[in-house]
Symmetry: C2
Subunit: 510 residues, 2 copies
């Protein structure tokens, strides 16, 4: 069952994470999706998105080239405002965008499929703080960044090394993307993301990918991943459009992902938010296809709610669940892979709140048929914090959804008819040959739960899940095995990074 | 939207739980179910269940009357063992069992529909211990029992007062069912469960229901609820069959619910467990229909997993999710309402583990189209503990699923097209008329989460969710309003209970 047969990974997996729990490079969903809108609701949302794009339009700010591209395509451009004829964006997308593609990892066993029944789980993205039970909440450093990359690499249920797993604020803001990219390449052999902010940094990511994979390979294959967030409502700024067009031109995928909190950045209602999300996403996706017809792209949605009492973002809410499920349906009607988000929480600690919200969020995104789920582990405090303990607790959840979406084995062995007949009424199956032959593979075994008796648990220290996860992430790190890197590539990367850094002074803003 | 318009409840709801969050007497699911088996898997499971019932059969222990009933129906009875011809149980059930029914509460506004698109959420059932952060884990008392009944009554998202919300071990084991039934009748005006163990106690529950509702009403309506658990594999004992036949004869509903932990009480595989669950459930359901054709009954399933390392039951697992979803499909094919379980956890504390498992469990049961979910709040330690804090944290989850399954409002107001046009690119919706008009009703607001900034949260004491829930359940209790009880009924109940208690000495075993 394991599709990754590299001896190195096998050894790593025989440590704290049991080797008999096979790892796949991505989830292949054998179960369907859960749909919350019927044809009427889907058509209505598409109609409303068209109307928003025609009557209100969208602003593309600070990037005249984008405006020229839209003007050349026949769109109505006035100042920064672009208006679209109904159906224009959808036609432009469906004419050339691929339904799925493959993102290559430097270890071919870790290459992932993006689209169809594939789901790729990525770690947290963006937090300027990290949190663990030993040192509490603190600004993230590059040391933390590297530690997280290594920790993620030990987790079989993550499929991707991600991008800004935390923001290493001890490095200059205008150069740290180089160090972050280097850490992913050096300490993990899984697929990774590019830099999302600005044309220049996107170019650096592509350059570094060329050093790693070879320029020819990069020209003809997908090796990076870019998330392009709108400034909702209805704005794409030059930082985002700069990266979008750079990746699209290099034939590297862009996930066009409106990021909204209902009531602040979109209407406070689900139906209104969905229409706005679809409008923003399709305008940006059309842009990708205008920049380079056939460039891979994903419809993205990161729509959550906010507390109108405090103005704070809220996660794991019923409305967020409805929005991600509906957005998944809209993406499938566009014929595109679907990008969304995972175990989000506004909790400050890896506590009960964090897991009620995280479990709700990841399950909803899985039922939505998401093809890539960002922030599948670690996120706390509305994205301000990556928690080491929550990373481990969420990793259990990632493993659970992988096993769940593998569906029900209907083989003769799984039917166990002979075992039922041999055991008979009133007897137990503990000693059954069938049980002994199957229990190691039949049941997924998460790391964090304590299922022991109260007495045993008390004797073991009476610790809560967060405290156990604190022990577990350190054990996981001990099991990290360096995937190595060709010294010539390593040297070329160091040389490239040194030259880029020498070009300009350090700056502590973007 | 609120279907409960009693002034008393309105007042109660204006306390800690906001009155602007409307409460319905039960959930009406506007979304579909999630199916994990196709026709092939469903037919195979039904075929295997038939084969188990024909070749192995089921033991009905200690209740000769049950054996006589099966013999009279033409089944093959040898000793305690009953074997069934393929299709016999299914035919017997579908010939007469109703697809749905109504369970009356003494407050008609709280009467619940069992079946179809209705879902009823019930509190924890059975724990001999209670836990709260102030006093820790301790044996449950009748005082705790009454407190839980009152606490549950303040929770708008619970629809039923339940049964053994905790086991009041300070009362004699052979008489405490009378006190428990009294507490439900006296301190709640929602529907409640009967006593499940033994013919005599079931009879007491029916007697007390007759005092409350009147004998004529009870003869023609459903006012109780019985869960009949098998002793898996393939045994029903006299305690369970005694209650089953007593309720069925009184035309009161029985949820025939195999309780299995895979690997111990059923095969360690999902497919094998499902066939066994279906075999046990249909044999018991056929019994209900043989005892009284047309008596309401539910197909139940309480199937979870166990750790083969420790022998401990495990919850919130992928396999448990697959089993409840498949069991829901099997129940719909039988044409019966579906009974199952909710926020189960083996955690000892209301921590991250407890909510990862609880959220997984309740969501799966909802996606399974469950019509009654027992243990929707409070369960810890594999059912040994009812936690006051987890009750509150789980209650948030109950509210979330109710809102989620209400689906997406597609009204013109919810579409918010005018608000999007009026707000325009780059502006915010915080001050929008649409936001102000809608935010109180558009978003569900749970009680436990802290969504504030880290700084505000720290200033508020830096408490985790469990600690906040500790404050919240006490606040909720302060808002409890006694629904009152007709003094004549109260007196009749006291008199009845006193007479039953005087009939025999106290005993501390069942």
């Amino acid at each position: 069952m394991a599709t990754d047969s590299s001896p190195r990974r096998r050894r790593a997996a025989s440590g704290p994470v049991k080797s008999d729990q096979p790892r796949a490079p991505y989830i292949t969903r054998k179960l369907g999706t859960f749909n919350v809108l019927g044809e009427e609701g889907l058509s209505l949302t598409e109609h409303n998105a068209d109307q928003i794009l025609k009557e209100t339009g969208m602003d593309f700010v600070g990037d005249p080239e984008i405006l020229a591209i839209f003007r050349a395509a026949g769109c109505d451009v006035k100042g920064d405002r672009v208006r679209f004829e109904p159906g224009f964006c959808r036609r432009t997308i469906t004419a050339t965008a691929p339904r799925d593609y493959v993102q290559h990892a430097r270890n071919p066993a870790n290459t992932v499929k993006i689209g169809g029944d594939g789901t790729v789980l990525c770690p947290s993205w963006g937090p300027p703080f990290v949190h663990d039970l030993d040192r509490g909440r603190r600004y993230a450093s590059y040391e933390d960044f590297k530690t997280l990359v290594k920790l993620h690499h030990t987790i079989p249920w993550l499929h991707h090394s991600g991008g800004v797993v935390c923001e290493p604020v001890d490095l200059p803001a205008n150069k740290r993307h180089l160090d972050m990219l280097y850490a992913h390449i050096r300490y993990s052999d899984r697929a990774f993301m590019g830099a999302f902010i600005g044309e220049e940094r996107a170019g650096h990511a592509i350059d570094m990918a060329r050093i790693l994979f070879g320029a020819d390979f990069v020209a003809n294959n997908q090796v990076l991943y870019c998330v392009s967030n709108t400034n909702a409502p209805l704005v794409l700024d030059a930082n985002m459009s700069g990266a979008l067009k750079t990746y699209a031109r290099a034939n590297q995928p862009v996930a066009c992902t409106p990021w909204v909190l209902t009531g602040a950045m979109s209407p406070t209602t689900v139906a209104g938010t969905l229409a706005q999300v679809l409008a923003e996403a399709t305008a940006c996706l059309a842009l990708v296809q205008l920049v380079r017809p056939g460039a891979p792209c994903l419809m993205g949605s990161f729509a959550s709610t906010m507390s109108m009492q405090s103005g704070a973002p809220t996660f794991g809410t019923p409305e967020a669940g409805l929005m991600v499920l509906a957005a998944g349906q809209l993406a499938r009607r566009l014929g595109l892979p679907f990008h969304t988000v995972g175990t989000l929480s506004s909790s400050k600690l890896p506590d009960a709140q964090s897991q009620q919200e995280a479990t709700w969020g990841l399950l909803m995104s899985m039922f939505a048929g998401a093809n890539l789920i960002n922030h599948a582990t670690g996120w706390l405090e509305g994205g301000l914090v990556t928690s080491f303990e929550k990373t481990i607790i969420d990793a259990d959840l990632c493993g659970k959804v992988a096993r769940f979406f593998d569906g029900i084995d209907l083989s003769e062995n799984a039917q166990a008819m002979a075992a039922i007949a041999a055991t008979g009424p009133g007897q137990h199956f503990l000693g059954s040959d069938h049980t002994r032959a199957n229990f190691m593979s039949a049941l997924f075994r998460p790391l964090t739960p304590d299922n022991n008796s109260f007495e045993q648990w008390s004797a073991d220290g009476g610790r809560d899940a967060a405290s156990r996860a604190n022990t577990l992430w350190k054990k996981q790190l001990e099991a990290y095995e360096d995937p190595g890197l060709d010294p010539a590539i390593d040297e070329a990367l160091h040389d490239y990074i040194a030259r880029r850094k020498a070009e300009k002074p350090d700056m502590n803003y973007f």
